[in-house]
Symmetry: D2
Subunit: 331 residues, 4 copies
């Protein structure tokens, strides 16, 4: 597929990749009008539905970026991966897996029904809201800021800067997300919550309103791709076992109730957020020895026009195209 690339130097390779990615982004940007920006949190509606941006970072640090890469957006559900990782680092895997299962559900992300119907002992997985709120409740600390701290710490280590909260989005979510409060009270009654509900929800809404860019997501992706190691220093930022579990969860449950289709057609671990962000990654297992860049790369995508499952419409199309062209699928 990438014939002759073996003889290129890094610069040539990057230029060559850049051209391709630019083409693809401009092609799929035209499709953004088939999606719609999220409306359930009022302030998210202000996003520009025409935006589409991508950042890909290899484990060697090579970057290919294209489109609207400078727009900051809130991390939303992508934070569920980070809070789960941090909680596992604080409490251990066994503790966490006693409190939340790791099974996909087939239900929408905000379903309460599943909890009630199955008389389950625990939420289905950490990437649906019921599971994520349970996870957040296990974080150490007596205030939402204390609970949030290790998430921001981990992000700072990975990103090289401490990300900020978008206060306006936080307040908007805190004041409008009645379904999450319903889920929270349900969890409180059934004994899943390990902290005060208000502090838990405050933390949850804060973690969702952390502001990032596609570069940030790509940097998170590359650490996950490399089993939790900093690709430059080899330092373990996240234990390998936890990273692997997080990636398996992303593949089976990361894209809401379109996770199965994403696994089938794109085939890489990814997690989306309702603001239009997607973090994705290619585990370092690809065959193409001529293109080591894509082996273990992290990918950040932003495209706020969503499909009916809540995933970035153009973002998924773009990822599918890239995964196909570069054979990123892990299968």
């Amino acid at each position: 597929m990438v014939q002759g690339a073996a003889n290129w130097n890094t610069e040539q390779t990057q230029e060559w990749l850049q051209n391709y990615v630019d083409d693809w982004v401009s092609f799929y940007r035209k499709q953004t009008d088939e999606g719609e920006v999220a409306s359930y949190i009022p302030i998210l509606q202000e996003a520009n539905p025409d935006h589409l941006g991508i950042s890909i970072i290899g484990k060697d640090g090579m970057k290919v970026r294209s489109g609207d890469t400078e727009i900051p957006f809130t991390i939303q559900s992508i934070s569920k991966v980070l809070s789960f990782i941090v909680a596992c680092m604080e409490k251990g895997l066994a503790y966490m897996l006693d409190r939340v299962d790791v099974e996909p559900t087939g239900e929408a992300f905000n379903s309460i029904m599943h909890l009630e119907m199955r008389k389950v002992q625990k939420p289905f997985n950490p990437l649906i809201n019921a599971g994520a709120i349970t996870v957040t409740s296990t974080l150490e600390g007596n205030t939402s800021d204390e609970k949030l701290k290790p998430i921001l710490d981990l992000m700072e280590t990975i990103l090289g800067y401490r990300p900020a909260l978008n206060v306006e989005v936080y307040e908007s979510e805190r004041d409008s997300s009645m379904r999450n409060r319903a889920i929270g009270y349900y969890l409180l009654e059934t004994g899943f919550l390990e902290s005060d509900l208000n502090i838990t929800l405050e933390t949850y809404f804060k973690q969702c309103s952390i502001e990032v860019t596609v570069d940030d997501l790509a940097k998170i992706g590359v650490v996950l791709a490399n089993d939790g190691e900093d690709p430059k220093t080899g330092e373990e930022l996240i234990p390998r076992k936890i990273t692997r579990l997080a990636k398996a969860l992303m593949l089976t449950c990361g894209m809401y109730d379109a996770s199965g289709k994403f696994a089938a057609y794109v085939g890489i671990p990814a997690k989306s957020g309702v603001s239009g962000g997607i973090v994705a990654l290619a585990p370092p297992r690809v065959r193409d020895e001529d293109l080591p860049f894509i082996n273990g790369c992290g990918i950040g995508v932003y495209g706020p026009a969503l499909d009916d499952k809540g995933n970035s419409y153009a973002g998924i199309k773009l990822l599918r195209h890239i995964a196909k062209q570069w054979d990123l699928s892990i299968f």
Copy 2:
């Protein structure tokens, strides 16, 4: 992990692997008494719960086999992967994906509820019974034998011999599987079925009663691992696109409602059957260049004592151990 192995010749490597696998099998065989053989089909109860066997075949043809490798057993739900592949080959992916979705469900394999509750247009995926019966109904042919033929043809090409049906098991399932008849009539009423219900169920029960051994499953696994190519000849036996989709389905939905846990802890595509068989495979993407054998290998397991999800109790433990030791996880 496998230090020094790089200098070994093939024979040394195989002997070395054989020793390990023998150890593991004899260790996990002791745990078979924590599972129970399936009771829902009367004849399956006659299986010996102490049996445990494994066959691993590399793309270079190297074989490591251990334990009860000679016991024939019926393929059961593992046939759902093959019938889906054959139906996609006959009708095309687009046609099939109009008729069955590819989303995991979180429900037990034999749930009717899901169909009714969600007012879905199609069953959730081809690996639950409702989806598998729908898939079987799309197979070409006017009789169950005609419908079954392309499945047996594909197996013959892969296995080198034409597998036989276990008539006793077939008759036992045909006469006892009331839930599948309930699902079948439900599908008939809702318009999913594309063939006569009796012929469809006859075909379905026949495909489930195809008799195989762990070697056969390993051979099927190695073809899937290598994207549908015969690893010896490079000939395409199954189109790559269909193979990839099948592997994604196996990972997200292959182990009933323990699929998420299997993805998290083992991390390779696999499909189990209620007779205690499991087909698994490692896509050719592993890092360990010293151990090329496991790169793209197929695995067949047999252990009829099942856990409460319907998967081989010792078989899953054995696979989990091997995947960890050899780092087979695709994540």
Copy 3:
């Protein structure tokens, strides 16, 4: 409400009532085009949607009839009341209530989901299909004709003639009702069925295709109204305890998932069938001493144009109007 009526003789009263009922029937007959004849059993579609007829029979034998009273139609789900009564007479109340509950469900009559979801030990009530099929399976006899016999016997005693089956409807239902076969196989697997499934379904389809007229339904109603006694002779045709239970079931579950609204707005025990028939009755508890006719009367209605719940559109409106005018509500 019926001032001066106290001084009338029977003939005057009847004439007076007749005029009213004629007016009401001709008024509501104009509304039949807001309903639609049942389509799920092909042959039912041949009914004339403009038909509307009613027969009211007092315990003293006075009859008021109006509209299309001569059209024969199949009894359909109304037979569920009779089969439950007969089964209770054969097996005793305790036996039957071990096998089927008497709770309303809120679900459509043909739901399987409820059985699966609640892990119930028994179907919700004898007036949904799952309950009715279970009830039919408990009837004595080795063939469908033997099982059907006591139902026809009871009807013959009440009606004064032995009703016939509509063979064409029977065959149409037998060949088209896939949902009932799905329910049947589900019940078979879960151990609810007490007879061979095919014989049970054959009996069930036969009992549904018994042909009646509005007069027949009114005669059945008057016996139920009078706690199981023949109003002329005082002979006990159905034990009082069973009759009371049947009436309570009719009130809480008799009109599919519009039973609550019927209880609220009409307020008398009634059971509808998908062919457009309704049997209703006024327990002998009305206050209006001037109008003894309506005290303990039975009512048969026929109007094949159905509303979206499966009840006769104009029939319900007509019953609601009569119940209001004559204050039939039991509340």
Copy 4:
């Protein structure tokens, strides 16, 4: 059944009835230890499980009281009948029935699932929590006290005194009923709520903690029995149409998911509360002209030991016995 009673004077009748009721109460009081006092609201656990009391008031004012009649208890879910009546009086039936359906559900009183699963436009009925909270949200007023006022006004008119809140119970419910908060937030998100959630829940918890005795419940019952009229003065306290609807709801949905069984075995409109109270009534339609007392009587029962459905264990048995002895069933 009550032979010779026709010749008795009122005093004789009352004495005779009193003897019977005393016998029955002392008999069923021995069965209280088969139930358990409610635990979901901590303070309710302090009730004495051995208590059993009943008050029966005829429309002529005759009273028969027995057992623990002086114990005050909180009205709990019985208030749902009153808030629905008051809301209908304020807003009209049509307005209310647009916001809450009148169908029984088959689900437990505190189910959220039903709302989610059926994509219903409105809660199933005003006697499950989701419906009752919706009803309370429609009450006029800007504070919980303003909203509560018409309920207390109506009770004052009926009881002859203004009932008080049990502040301890109110605070206990307010602080512990997480499921109701979950339901409240769910209703808020789906647009059912017509007032501020906190004020609505405050009102709801207040209405549940109104303190009553069995005499009070019997007085409410006798007004409902007589279609909303004060039995002494004939004055309309509640419009007849609303009263009838309330009674139909009590019969079909008043006893949680045992409503069908209560209708079948007791056969009169009744509503229970988790504190062990039951209000019941016999519509004035009984046949027994020798015993006019029971024709149109109201009944209050208190027995805090509950069965597994949340109804007073001994209370239901006592009502069933009385209904049978006096033939109160409306069927």
